[in-house]
């Protein structure tokens, strides 16, 4: 009986078997790459806001402390978004006529809140607490990046769970002295591991990786 399949079918089948695997590998790799790209993670994507508020200007140029506006960062899970009143504390005096600040003045006049666009957003099943991180020596810049150099706010890190776990597994690589938490210029010393290990002991930092620490 004659061969049903021509010899060339061997090649075709080889190509399709290995090619198929190859396609799957490429597909998975592509999806993974997309998932980590800034298209999905929004890392480095500056958001437009109702008022083009510049952290760079207020923090670097004016030297305003984070806590002047984000008032509850040390005592609550939520760091706090400044009320219009806080903006107006200064802007009744300076740039009081600036057209760019009209939405702020309008909010103050009408009592209707400004609606900012969220930059850092966690899924509904994740519960993050600012106050305990600040208390344990996690600096603002560790997660939010050099806010003092951002004219418009963007997300510095993916906020993916693997990113959270980097620090939750190895806190000594990231913690800093408490008094440096709000310091934008703080750079980890060359012996960060030594300092970190000391601080982990001193601040009683646990390696919290149980699910219910963040999910509930």
């Amino acid at each position: 009986m004659a061969q049903i399949f021509h010899r060339s079918t061997n090649t075709i089948s080889r190509v399709s078997v290995f090619g198929g695997i190859g396609i799957i590998v490429v597909l998975v790799a592509t999806l993974a790459a997309i998932n980590r790209s800034s298209y999905v993670t929004e890392v480095g994507v500056a958001r437009s806001q109702p008022v083009q508020f510049s952290h760079k200007h207020h923090v670097s140029d004016d030297g305003i402390d984070c806590r002047y506006c984000h008032t509850s960062v040390e005592e609550s899970s939520f760091a706090g978004i400044p009320s219009t009143k806080i903006c107006m504390n200064c802007h009744t005096q300076i740039w009081a006529e600036s057209p760019i600040l009209e939405p702020v003045r309008e909010s103050f006049r009408t009592g209707k809140s400004l609606e900012w666009t969220r930059v850092h957003n966690l899924p509904g099943f994740v519960y993050f607490d600012h106050s305990i991180h600040v208390h344990k020596g996690v600096g603002c810049t560790t997660c939010h990046g050099r806010v003092d150099q951002m004219p418009l706010m963007w997300r510095e890190n993916t906020l993916y769970m693997e990113w959270c776990l980097e620090c939750h597994r190895n806190p000594e690589q990231f913690v800093r002295p408490r008094e440096q938490v709000f310091n934008m210029d703080w750079q980890p010393p060359s012996d960060q591991i030594v300092l970190g290990q000391k601080l982990v002991q001193q601040y009683k930092i646990e390696r919290l990786t149980s699910c219910s620490v963040c999910h509930r």
């Binding site: 219009t84 809140s113 208390h135 646990e206």
Partner: protein, 1024 residues
């Protein structure tokens, strides 16, 4: 009510009561059972049990065929990976700050405000958790005498009513939308006419009023309209208790019981642990005297004589079930034995019981309480007062004060008078503040018919209900969490109610409506309440007083002082004199004809008088003893059911454990008839049928409409609670009831362990004894819990089965309501259930309640079988559930020996209704379809407490974390804490000899353990 005539498709054997009796007769020792089926040991029941996961089986019969199912599954698998590829944050997500942030608000941190939950006129102090101005959870107020930090199920559920989207939202006139101003104009014209006649045609109908401010306004109104009348009516009222006080003392009194001083308690049909003013406090005090610990083995003793099995009855050391008509005579027999000059004929059957009881009461003179139930006729109350006097209890355990009710009228008489006036058309303007008399008034008064003769009718209420439909004007009423007011507690203490939120639906408080009648149109409720208190004598600065009162949740020094009352000579008491042989023939229970069935009307244990009919949490809450949800039924004893040939079948259809088909009967009473499903309740009095009020609403709202049957339809004015002459006919159809009793049966293992106090004293380790050996060791390496190790101890001896914990858990953890159909499939979502066990004869069994949350096993069987790692153990011993990982295999639930895991078969959580969104606890994920969930030990509370402690550089203090169930529990039966801390209350409880775990022979090492149940029977009374 339309009876469901659908038959179960599988052949089910009918319940055979005769065989049960036979089986019980031959058995020895402790026999616990959950339901009659189990006791009957029927083959069908075993078949149902063998269906390992009955909830799933039902699904095959649903619309989607197997082929469709496989196709859908294929598609789901193909797309499985893709849902990870969404954008993390939708671009348009907004964050909205305050314009001017209030100083005291820290976003993300809840605040607590003190107020009080009013029900039946009496207030229970509560602290309400508020997240940025929206109330989310009710807790008890430790400062308040009626709460002492705990709450009951009604208070817990009241927050859902606040947000109920079915609440009335607009002023309406003859069914058309109108405005408050239009109402003011309209009523002003009519009031003008009334002013000329001195208010001869003006009537106000309120519910029970204890509020000093409201009373003051009503008095002002009566001063302005001297011929106007103020009526009060609630369908479940305290008329009998008040009349009993007048019988005994000649004037109105309020009785306050000190269960913390009582060693022997006799309840004459009083459900004091569950209902009535002060029930939370009474439960706390009563159980405080029952707690047995290593260094304390004294217990109080409770005798209960009752008609319908109640929560209090289930705590009894000795319980008798009597027909209503026998109660007064029985009370008289006890009184006579105590030595009161009452004539009585004791039936020989119970003489030994009565003798022993009386000796016990006399042995504890000054340390006993005789308490009569609100449903009992006045004469029983008078007898109870006389007995307390004779036993020297007055002043020690029984305190008399002035009535807490501002105007203690006989409410039935008050309503009757109003109806008479309406009938003669002498009522021109009727203003009804709250209540729902068209639905709840005695049917023979024909309230609705006569109401139609009133030319100007106004009804202010939370819902546009049955009464509103009969009125010209309907005013949406404010919820108690939306308005200023004040209320008295069971001992007279006043709480000033403060609003937690502005009226959601533009409601008006009763104060505002009355102010409008008084001509004070611009007054806000705040002004009215505050101005009233300004006129009161207050020591010191008013502002300080006001702020202190609001902060504390109770106005200092307002509890009534004990007053001395003088008992009338019994010979002068109507119906009690020795010459008067009519003790049993009393006002409120008609003389029983021999062999006639009697009827008993009781407030429903979840809907009360019907006011909570649209509250899904309460509708779905299994009733403490019957474990029915979403329906009421005609309750009767097994013997009566057997005589009447009534029975029920556990719905088969692939093991739908929650569905029970029961015979429908027609009840004929005083010329009216009603159809209702029959339900057998072990321990019910024979030849008597109990109907729970509050069901069968037609205008309750989407949740409450059409559930159950309306018992008011045959309730008459002269027999509001008990009557005789009931006739019953089986009509041959069946009706499915959703009962949670049949779920998760545990096959006769020793889940509840109990003994008498004598047995305990002889062998304090009886719990550990002859029970299953705990196995040791594991294939998996052990884990050392070094930091905190969370654990829970539940005292079965303290649990009264009141359900407060179940609703508290539902409120705290955003647990959805699933509806009757889903409950019949065994899919209710409660993370915490209360199992109810019986022991002994079905005629009068002992009852045990056992709350079962997740056990947080150290060797958790659920964790090993999860294919996606969605349930894991935390380093503190919590069995974590990760919703976002769960793919819904339900393997964990299958492998859980305690059956405490709950699966979202459908999207039960309401993500759409806007008004329900602010209700949710923002610290707990709202679960969607396809996700398993279960008790987390309130991990959100653990995390908050840990964070606070770490910020202060200290360990979490013992008692700092209270789980929702623990905080709500009136009897402190649930204790939670760190078992690694030897000084922690929970660790001490776990070292008690009464401590045991459920199914520990499976080597699950549960973190939740139980303290065994103890009873303190009188050795002089033979049980059997």
């Amino acid at each position: 009510m339309k009876p469901d005539t659908r038959r179960p498709t599988l052949d089910t054997s009918r319940l055979d009561l005769a065989s049960i009796r036979e089986r019980l007769g031959s058995s020895q020792g402790q026999e616990y059972w959950r339901c009659l089926e189990e006791l009957a040991d029927s083959e069908q029941f075993h078949k149902l049990l063998i269906q390992e996961f009955p909830q799933q089986a039902a699904g095959w019969f649903d619309g989607v065929s197997r082929r469709d199912f496989l196709r859908l599954m294929g598609a789901s698998l193909a797309l499985a990976g893709l849902n990870a590829c969404g954008r993390a944050a939708p671009i348009d997500k907004k964050i909205v700050p305050y314009v001017n942030q209030p100083e005291e608000i820290v976003p993300g941190r809840p605040m607590f405000f003190a107020t009080a939950f009013p029900m039946g006129g009496a207030g229970t102090g509560v602290l309400v958790e508020s997240h940025e101005g929206r109330p989310t959870k009710i807790e008890g107020n430790p400062n308040h005498p009626a709460s002492v930090g705990a709450t009951n199920a009604f208070a817990q559920a009241s927050i859902l009513t606040l947000y109920d989207p079915d609440r009335s939202q607009v002023v309406s006139n003859a069914g058309r939308i109108s405005t408050w101003n239009a109402f003011l104009t309209a009523i002003n014209d009519d009031l003008e006419a009334e002013r000329l006649s001195g208010g001869a045609g003006l009537r106000i109908l309120t519910e029970t009023v204890t509020s000093p401010t409201l009373t003051n306004q009503l008095r002002q109104l009566l001063a302005k309209f001297p011929r106007a009348k103020w009526h009060q009516y609630e369908p479940v009222n305290r008329d009998n208790a008040q009349a009993g006080g007048r019988l005994a003392f000649g004037n109105n009194v309020n009785t306050v019981y000190r269960f913390d001083n009582a060693d022997v308690v006799l309840s004459l049909d009083a459900d004091f642990l569950f209902a009535g003013p002060g029930n939370v406090r009474y439960a706390r005090d009563f159980v405080g005297k029952r707690r047995v610990r290593q260094n304390k083995s004294e217990m109080n003793r409770l005798y209960v004589i009752e008609v319908t099995p109640s929560v209090t009855g289930s705590m009894a050391d000795h319980r008798l079930a009597l027909r209503p008509s026998e109660m007064p005579g029985f009370a008289a027999a006890i009184a006579a034995k105590i030595g009161l000059p009452v004539q009585s004929t004791t039936d020989a059957q119970h003489s030994q019981w009565i003798d022993a009881l009386v000796r016990d009461l006399q042995k504890h003179r000054g340390g006993g309480i005789v308490v009569a139930g609100d449903q009992q006729p006045p004469v029983v109350h008078a007898l109870a007062h006389a007995m307390n006097q004779a036993l020297d209890n007055v002043g020690k355990t029984v305190i008399y004060t002035d009535p807490i009710v501002a105007n203690p009228v006989d409410q039935s008489a008050s309503l009757r008078e109003l109806v008479r006036d309406m009938e003669t058309a002498s009522v021109k303007v009727l203003v009804m503040l709250g209540g729902n008399p068209v639905f709840t008034a005695p049917v023979d008064l024909r309230f609705a018919e006569h109401l139609a003769k009133v030319p100007f009718r106004v009804h202010s209420s939370l819902y546009d209900d049955e009464t509103s439909a009969y009125c010209h004007w309907h005013i949406p009423e404010t919820h108690y969490l939306e308005s200023w007011s004040d209320v008295r507690a069971y001992d007279g203490s006043v709480t000033i109610l403060q609003p937690l939120i502005a009226p959601l639906y533009g409601g008006k408080s009763s104060h505002e409506v009355l102010a409008a009648l008084l001509g004070g149109f611009g007054d806000t409720t705040y002004d009215i309440v505050r101005n009233y208190w300004k006129t009161q004598k207050i020591a010191g600065d008013f502002e300080t007083f006001w702020r202190t009162a609001l902060h504390d949740g109770v106005v200092a020094g307002t509890a009534f002082q004990p007053k001395t009352v003088k008992l009338k000579a019994l010979a002068n008491v109507d119906g009690l004199s020795a010459s008067d042989a009519s003790v049993s023939e009393t006002r409120n229970s008609k003389p029983a004809r021999q062999n006639s069935l009697e009827i008993s009307f009781q407030p429903d244990p979840t809907l009360f008088d019907g006011r909570f009919a649209n509250n899904g949490w309460l509708q779905e809450l299994p009733k403490p003893l019957t474990k029915l949800t979403w329906d009421n039924a005609a309750l009767m004893s097994p013997k009566t059911a057997e005589r009447l040939g009534l029975s029920y079948q556990v719905g088969a259809r692939g093991g739908e454990h929650g569905r029970v088909f029961t015979d429908v009967i027609e009840l004929r009473y005083e010329g009216r008839s009603l159809r209702a499903p029959a339900w057998i309740v072990p321990g019910h009095a024979d030849e008597c049928i109990t109907l729970h009020l509050g069901y069968g609403r037609t205008r309750a709202g989407k949740v409450g409409n059409g559930t159950g049957f309306n018992a008011y339809a045959i309730r008459t004015a002269n027999a509001p609670y008990y009557g005789a002459g009931l006739e019953i006919r089986k009509i041959g159809t069946q009706y499915p009831l959703a009962c949670t009793q049949f779920h998760h049966s545990m096959e006769g293992r020793d889940l509840v362990r109990a003994a008498t106090i004598e047995e305990y004293r002889k062998n304090p380790n009886f719990v550990q004894g002859e029970h299953h050996q705990e196995s040791e060791g594991s294939l998996y390496p052990g884990y050392k819990y070094e930091g905190y190790a969370w654990g829970m101890s539940i005292d079965v001896n303290a649990c009264v089965g009141c359900n407060a914990c179940v609703v508290a858990c539902q409120s705290e953890n955003n647990i959805p309501v699933v509806g009757k159909t889903e409950v019949t499939r065994g899919r209710e979502m409660h993370w915490l259930r209360i199992d109810r066990y019986y022991k002994g004869s079905p005629q009068n069994p002992e009852t045990y309640h056992q709350p079962v949350p997740c056990m947080h096993c150290e060797n958790a069987p659920c964790e090993l079988v999860c294919p996606v790692g969605a349930t894991n153990h935390s380093h503190e011993g919590l069995n974590d559930m990760v919703y976002n990982r769960c793919v819904g295999t339900r393997y964990c639930s299958n492998n859980c020996p305690y059956k405490v895991r709950r699966f979202n078969f459908f999207e039960y959580s309401d993500f759409e209704t806007p008004s329900l969104k602010p209700l949710r606890n923002p610290n707990v994920t709202v679960r969607s379809r396809g996700v398993m969930e279960k008790c987390t030990y309130c991990v959100q509370r653990i995390n908050v407490a840990k964070i606070e402690a770490e910020k202060e550089n200290r360990p979490v203090r013992d008692g700092e974390i209270q789980t929702a169930c623990q905080a709500a529990c009136p009897t402190q039966a649930i204790v939670f804490g760190d078992i690694n801390n030897r000084e922690a209350a929970v660790a001490k409880l776990k070292s008690e000899s009464l401590n045991y775990g459920l199914l520990t022979e499976l080597n699950t090492k549960p973190r939740t353990t139980y303290l065994a149940k103890l009873k303190n029977p009188n050795p002089e009374i033979k049980t059997g």
